[in-house]
């Protein structure tokens, strides 16, 4: 979908920011441009939509040389989201999102509908926020609107320059997760620039690690971690690559999808008997709709009539897409050795145990050693 062929970028003052970079991104892939400051990753990205001119080499988008198209026309078909976001303060959220559709001449009703949809897609209540101004939003909300705006005219390609960089770490994780969910739905071809290795491993289908203008290694995150090409990559990735590797595995890959459950209104006695019979330590408490309500263990069950009365409250949960290192962190901080896995609407889909994580970790370690 996007092909860079020997791309070189030289600034007017002579500095070579990008040196003969070549790689290819498949349609629907999220490719992360990673590297230390000044490595040329942002410059490379900006050459795709020609914000920075290409000195030598070519960039092909869907087979066409990107210099053959009028540059404004080109940009209207490429979504663009930057770190400082750059929302237009004098326009409402809706007007911001509708920017490119307006440039493309979409009819009003269609634009408005699209804006509302996109706002919902990025997790904001369109009724409440559609007519607000950027100054009335929080940082995280502005970032979401920025992404929505980039998706305004449904471009096939998205360029994102450290879009979550200016956000606090807590919100950032949430935004990353949500963005991955969105990407699953929309399946855009994305170029994502970051200097954060964790973010790169978590988000990317492919990672292009750059240094001083050159492409050092273009590979899957796993390969970057376990088959680093040279010392630079090794150092950049860090010695704790095994732990980092946990990022590559998601809860859904190792969870128990049919955990023992019990309905909240069942009798505690009956539940206790069941546990003794089956030899299990805990039950997941759900309601009639399957929503996760809490935990029940044997000791507590003796104390009340129904399960509901004696269960322990929910504590932390994870989603199917949560990466294992986060799940591990959640587990450690809630002092449980199991974690309920729920959907966005809190419906129980599984349970993750500490053992499962340990097993995954040892598999990774083995893989690393076998090199």
């Amino acid at each position: 979908m996007i092909k860079l062929d020997g791309v070189t970028g030289v600034y007017p003052d002579g500095t070579e920011a990008v040196k003969e970079v070549s790689f290819e991104v498949e349609e629907g892939e999220l490719c992360v441009l990673l590297g230390p400051s000044g490595c040329g990753k942002t410059t490379t990205m900006k050459m795709i939509n020609r914000l920075i001119p290409i000195t030598e080499g070519k960039i092909y988008i869907d087979g066409r040389d990107n210099t053959e198209i009028d540059e404004n026309e080109l940009r209207r078909n490429i979504g663009y989201a930057i770190q400082e976001i750059g929302l237009f303060p004098h326009m409402t959220v809706s007007q911001n999102i509708e920017t490119v559709p307006v440039l493309k001449g979409w009819p009003k009703a269609e634009r408005k509908k699209r804006a509302e949809e996109l706002l919902e897609l990025v997790g904001m209540d369109s009724g409440e926020y559609i007519d607000k101004y950027p100054s009335e939003l929080s940082g995280g909300q502005r970032q979401r609107v920025g992404v929505a705006r980039a998706l305004g005219a449904d471009p096939p390609i998205l360029l994102m320059d450290e879009p979550f960089g200016a956000i606090d770490p807590i919100t950032r994780v949430r935004l990353q997760d949500e963005f991955l969910k969105i990407q699953q739905e929309i399946k855009k071809t994305i170029i994502f620039v970051t200097h954060d290795i964790y973010e790169a491993i978590k988000m990317g289908d492919k990672v292009a690690l750059m240094n001083e203008g050159q492409l050092v290694q273009y590979d899957t995150p796993a390969n970057l971690l376990y088959r680093p090409k040279n010392e630079f990559v090794e150092n950049f990735v860090g010695a704790d690559r095994a732990l980092k590797g946990l990022q590559l595995i998601r809860v859904k890959d190792v969870m128990n999808s049919s955990p023992p459950t019990v309905k909240a209104d069942e009798k505690a006695e009956a539940a206790k008997e069941r546990m003794e019979r089956e030899g299990i330590d805990w039950l997941v408490v759900v309601n009639d709709d399957g929503k996760f309500l809490g935990w029940a263990n044997q000791a507590e069950l003796g104390r009340g009539e129904t399960v509901r009365e004696v269960m322990s409250p929910p504590a932390m949960t994870a989603t199917v897409n949560t990466v294992l290192n986060e799940a591990l962190s959640l587990m450690l901080s809630s002092r449980l050795n199991t974690l309920a896995v729920v959907t966005r609407y809190n419906r129980l889909v599984g349970v993750l145990s500490f053992d499962a994580i340990q097993k995954a970790l040892s598999e990774i370690a083995q893989r690393g050693e076998s090199e």
Binding site: N49, L51, N72, E73, L74, R75, R76, N77, Y80, I82, E84, I85, G86, L87, F88, P89, H90, M91, T92, T99, V100, L103, Y133, P134, S135, E136, G139, R142, R149, L159
Partner: protein
């Protein structure tokens, strides 16, 4: 709110003073100027100010905007520097220079007012555009807006309030400077002020100065309202631009 109360009080004070003095029988050996004369000079004063502003705005604003465009950035220094110089020359001197070149009367006075009123407009318009958060312009560019669209849809609406503020400052300054127009036979409230000075009667001077102040306050007030009206809602809420 308090700000407006103060303005209106000052305005009332000025008008009150004018009325009080005009109603006196005699001041020293002179009679005060009549209402008709004050009104006539006020009209003339206002006309000079309005025409000068109507000329300086369509010249100053585009010129300043031009100085912010890539390729013309070098012009910024001579343009702003020149305007700075125009305002540092005492207004009296500008008036004096005007006479041998352009003669006397209404239009030469307007030219002098133009020179004097140019700087606030140039400076504000230039800063208005330059101080727009570059991320906003970059986002606009990256989304595929042409240079013209960026200027029209993004830069101008954001710059407009500050430009308007420049117009307001320029107008108020010009109201004050226009008092000197009387020296070169252009009329205006300066005639009354200078008459008072000529016969050493401060009350007569006040009879001219109070309406001048009232004019400045009123024009400033009207322009401030326009400025507020032109500020997009999104900018009024908070100072931060993202």
């Amino acid at each position: 709110m308090r700000h407006q109360v103060i303005l209106i009080s000052l305005l009332a004070l000025c008008i009150g003073l004018t009325v009080w003095i005009t109603n006196m029988d005699k001041i020293g050996v002179m009679e005060p100027f009549t209402y008709r004369e004050i009104l006539k000079e006020t009209q003339r004063h206002l006309l000079m100010v309005l025409i000068a502003e109507l000329i300086v705005i369509p010249i100053g604003v585009p010129l300043a905007i031009l100085a912010t465009r890539p390729g013309f950035k070098k012009l910024a220094i001579p343009i702003i520097g020149g305007a700075n110089m125009g305002q540092s020359i005492p207004s009296m001197a500008i008036v004096a220079i005007m006479v041998p070149l352009l003669g006397m009367g209404f239009w030469p006075a307007v030219v002098a007012l133009f020179i004097w009123g140019l700087l606030p407009i140039l400076r504000n318009s230039y800063a208005a555009i330059n101080n727009i958060n570059p991320a906003i312009v970059e986002a606009a560019r990256g989304m595929g807006m042409t240079r013209g669209q960026i200027a029209r849809k993004v830069e101008l609406p954001l710059a407009l309030p500050v430009i308007m503020a420049g117009v307001r400052v320029s107008t108020v300054v010009v109201v004050g400077t226009a008092t000197l127009a009387a020296l070169i036979a252009a009329g205006g409230l300066g005639r009354i002020i200078l008459a008072g000075v000529a016969v050493s009667q401060p009350l007569i001077t006040l009879q001219g100065a109070a309406p001048t102040a009232a004019l400045a306050i009123t024009l400033g007030f009207i322009l401030e309202r326009i400025e507020k009206w032109m500020t997009p809602r999104g900018l009024k809420a908070k100072a931060e631009m993202s």
